[in-house]
């Protein structure tokens, strides 16, 4: 059996077809993910249109520099992910492993900063009153509190689901690092590339979340 046929799964005729099929499957999944986050974006758009001042006030409760640093951290992780895919494609096992672990590192830094932000918001009482009473935390106060709470609810749900995707992504990256260690690099290249697509997608979601949540009402 030649090396080329060893890479080919039995249900495909050619390697190009196999690669195309996995890529299409991943993009179809990502399109469904667009709609998953899309419902949250639609809800956000409606309430931002209805209560622009309350959303600005809620946004000012967040630590925007932390969000900006996290954006840079996530973009850096996307760069290392792209370089991991490139290394795998060019047959460099050590390069792929190094850049995958770098991606895990930056992803973990992102989640660390996010966790610090959540703790800071709980500490300052910048949580929706409902959530606060549920956990015995101080919530927002004042006449506009219900509307500001709406913003904070969007903030926690959107960043929360984003962080959940990051956790899944970190698991995938560790799995891929294991795959790169265990299997021939030309066999690992395909899966590394597909998980890379997922990682970049999560990055794209954050690219929109950052200005929508952190940067209202700064002017």
């Amino acid at each position: 059996m030649s090396e080329r046929t060893a890479l080919l799964e039995p249900q495909f005729d050619r390697l190009e077809q196999q690669r195309e099929a996995s890529s299409i499957g991943m993009w179809a999944f990502l399109a469904s993910e667009v709609l998953f986050f899309g419902t949250l974006f639609a809800g956000y758009a409606v309430y931002h249109t209805l209560f622009p001042e309350a959303f600005q006030e809620g946004s000012r409760m967040l630590v925007w520099p932390a969000g900006a640093v996290n954006t840079a951290v996530l973009l850096t992780s996307s760069l290392t992910m792209a370089l991991a895919v490139r290394a795998a494609r060019t047959g460099s096992r050590s390069g792929a492993l190094l850049f995958l672990l770098a991606t895990v590192f930056f992803g973990a830094v992102f989640l660390g900063i996010k966790g610090w932000e959540y703790a800071d918001e709980v500490h300052k009482g910048h949580v929706p009153a409902g959530l606060g009473s549920l956990f015995g935390w101080a919530g927002t106060e004042g006449p506009d509190a219900p509307r500001t709470d709406l913003f904070l609810t969007f903030y926690f749900i959107m960043t929360g689901f984003h962080a959940l995707h990051m956790v899944v992504g970190l698991g995938l990256m560790l799995w891929m690092a294991w795959t790169v260690l265990r299997s021939p690099i030309d066999r690992a290249a395909g899966p590394v590339e597909m998980t890379g697509l997922y990682w970049h997608f999560v990055d794209v979601v954050w690219i929109f979340l950052f200005p929508m949540l952190y940067l209202l009402g700064l002017d």
Binding site: R19, E20, S23, I24, W27, A28, L30, A31, V34, L35, G38, T39, F41, A42, A45, V46, H48, T49, L50, W64, A68, T71, A72, L75, T76, S78, L79, M81, A82, L83, R86, R89, T90, A189, G196, L197, H200, F201, D203, V204, I207, F208, F210, P211, M212, L215, L216, L218, D219
Partner: protein
């Protein structure tokens, strides 16, 4: 596996993404009024396009991939735009009493 993008290209895209992040923060401090949302979404759109084309290799992808990506965008717009139009235009047309 075909074409391999040079490392320098990835670095250039990365620098562009960081510069655009700084630009979106800068734009948020300008008194643009309702245009600030437009500016923020436009910059985010450019950043997303850079990631899609270079990091996600859409430049080298097949047409089927483009169709799936376009479908994702089309359904997203279909999800958001009519809802916004509904809320923005409520009260424009007043039905007579008793309807």
């Amino acid at each position: 596996m075909g074409h391999v993008t040079p490392v320098r290209t990835y670095l250039l895209v990365y620098v562009a993404l960081l510069v655009l992040t700084a630009a979106t923060v800068g734009a948020a401090f300008l008194p643009l009024g309702p245009l600030s949302v437009v500016a923020a979404l436009a910059i985010a759109g450019v950043k997303a396009t850079l990631v899609l084309l270079w990091f996600m290799h859409m430049r080298e992808s097949s047409r089927v991939t483009w169709i799936l990506a376009a479908a994702g965008l089309a359904w997203l717009l279909l999800l958001i735009l009519p809802v916004i139009v509904d809320y923005l235009t409520r009260g424009w047309v007043l039905a007579p009493k008793g309807w």
